[in-house]
């Protein structure tokens, strides 16, 4: 594991719960690891699995998905769809060989600033221990055609 590696985590937070929890963490001046970059959607149900794959393929070392607790979705049921997609996505990522701990779904309500802080810090620590994902293989870059003789 390279020294001084700082993971880059892309976070998808829903506007009504997790984003507000992050705001509350801010107004309460809580401190947490600076590795996450938040992308805001109105509901976690907007989260297309393509976004998670895109993030991992383009430099993210981990992904954090934040939504409302089951039963509390501002739009009634969006988070249930997120939950179902997340489960299938996890199975897919496993087949891709991406470590389980890199992608995490957390239900964080608008009042749970502390839970947010803990979730972020824990994820950053886990991903730091796993090392960089380094999936960045832009389509345009060619694979080396050299190979060592056996």
């Amino acid at each position: 594991m390279p020294d001084g590696f700082e993971p880059k985590i892309v976070a998808f937070f829903c506007n009504w719960c997790t984003y507000l929890a992050a705001d509350l963490a801010g107004t309460s001046r809580m401190k947490y690891a600076p590795n996450i970059r938040v992308i805001r959607t109105m509901c976690s149900g907007r989260l297309d699995p393509q976004f998670v794959l895109y993030a991992l393929a383009n430099g993210a070392d981990g992904v954090l998905i934040g939504g409302c607790h089951p039963g509390d979705c501002h739009y009634q049921e969006g988070n249930y769809k997120t939950l179902r997609r997340y489960h299938l996505l996890k199975r897919l990522l496993k087949e891709y060989g991406i470590e389980e701990e890199r992608v995490r779904l957390e239900w964080i309500s608008a009042a749970e600033a502390d839970k947010l802080r803990t979730a972020v810090n824990q994820l950053v620590e886990k991903v730091r221990a796993l090392g960089p994902l380094r999936w960045c293989a832009p389509v345009e870059v060619r694979e080396p055609s050299e190979v060592t003789l056996q």
């Binding site: 393509q50 939950l83 997609r85 299938l88 897919l92 060619r142 050299e146 003789l149």
Partner: protein, 325 residues
């Protein structure tokens, strides 16, 4: 140079030969094609040599139809060569379009594939553990073989591609239309897939039998169901990739009473075929309990195989994580 018919070439890379069959499937129409064009390279059928192609002027071939994925260094070199020599390079079939079935090799690497093929498989007897080498001296001369890459690539991951003809294999009708368009100069913008842009459901004969609000508590696999030939596959708990797959194939598999497996790939609005398909499939699971959801999904034993059967190289992640050498 005195021949004024447009020059056309066909080449095959990592392919099963089905796309070549598809050309032949034009049946009598092939005579019209042959009459209208001058086929200057077609290894499966005609006897032109590599040096003939190398001798051609750049861009002297009007259109090359290249099928098969890029698996070896030879295929990569040919792709570059034909790109140079052609005005238009058309990725023909799912393998060159998206990586195709060979693309599933991206779940392994060369070492593990060789191990399986040359040592482990039940019918192999290879006590010395001989595996192909890129170069091997024989009687003082180096004999070379193309390098077998760890990763399968689609054609456009190697060279610039002008058009795509989707399908495994593309239906004869689609190919005929494409040749027509080529000859008449009536082509869509560069980079287009030469088929419609709506998912298969649009032309599916079973479309009306899918209920408006379908949710599933269980997934079944085709061998577990006596498939009703009139009813929508999804309504029979079978995962059909039709909703996620570009149409234009006249629903051949559906008409063969099997669910679609996605060979035409995604529609234009989708970046990663499997990611979008997974979203649709998961969204209609009828459960809110994580444990129950998991047990429903356990009926999908091979997510990559289901979601990226033809498109793993073209997907956002391209391949399974390569372990450091």
């Amino acid at each position: 140079m005195t021949n004024t018919k447009p020059k056309v070439a066909f080449y095959w890379c990592a392919s099963c030969g089905g796309c070549e069959e598809a050309v032949v499937d034009l049946a009598e129409k092939i005579l019209d094609v042959v009459a209208a064009v001058d086929i200057v390279f077609w290894p499966v059928a005609l006897d032109f040599k590599l040096k003939d192609v190398e001798a051609m002027a750049d861009s002297s071939i009007v259109a090359t139809f290249l099928n098969g994925a890029i698996r070896t260094s030879e295929q990569e070199e040919m792709a570059h060569l034909l790109r140079r020599k052609s005005q238009m390079l058309i990725a023909f079939g799912a393998c060159s379009h998206l990586g195709g079935i060979p693309g599933l090799g991206n779940l392994w690497d060369r070492a593990s594939i060789f191990h399986r093929a040359y040592q482990e498989s039940p019918s192999t007897v290879n006590p010395e553990g001989t595996v192909p080498q890129p170069s091997c001296p024989q009687n003082g001369h180096p004999l070379t073989l193309p390098v077998f890459f760890d990763t399968v690539r689609s054609l456009d991951q190697v060279v610039e591609v002008d058009y795509y003809l989707p399908g495994c294999a593309p239906p004869a009708g689609l190919l005929a239309k494409a040749v027509q368009a080529l000859l008449s100069g009536n082509l869509p913008p560069k980079g287009s897939v030469l088929a419609g842009d709506k998912a298969l459901c649009e032309e599916c004969p079973r479309k009306d039998s899918r209920p408006e609000k379908l949710t599933l508590k269980e997934f079944k696999r085709p061998h577990q169901v006596l498939i009703d030939p009139e009813k929508c596959m999804m309504a029979q708990n079978l995962i059909c990739m039709g909703p996620a797959t570009r149409g234009g194939c006249e629903a051949r598999c559906i008409n063969g009473n099997m669910p679609c497996t996605g060979c035409f790939g995604p529609t234009d609005n989708v970046r990663d075929y499997g990611g979008k398909a997974l979203s649709a499939i998961a969204s209609i699971i009828d459960s809110t309990d994580p444990a129950e959801i998991d047990s429903i999904l356990a009926k999908i034993p091979d997510p990559v195989g289901l979601l990226y059967r033809y498109s793993l190289p073209a997907s956002l992640l391209h391949r399974k994580k390569l372990e450091a050498a």
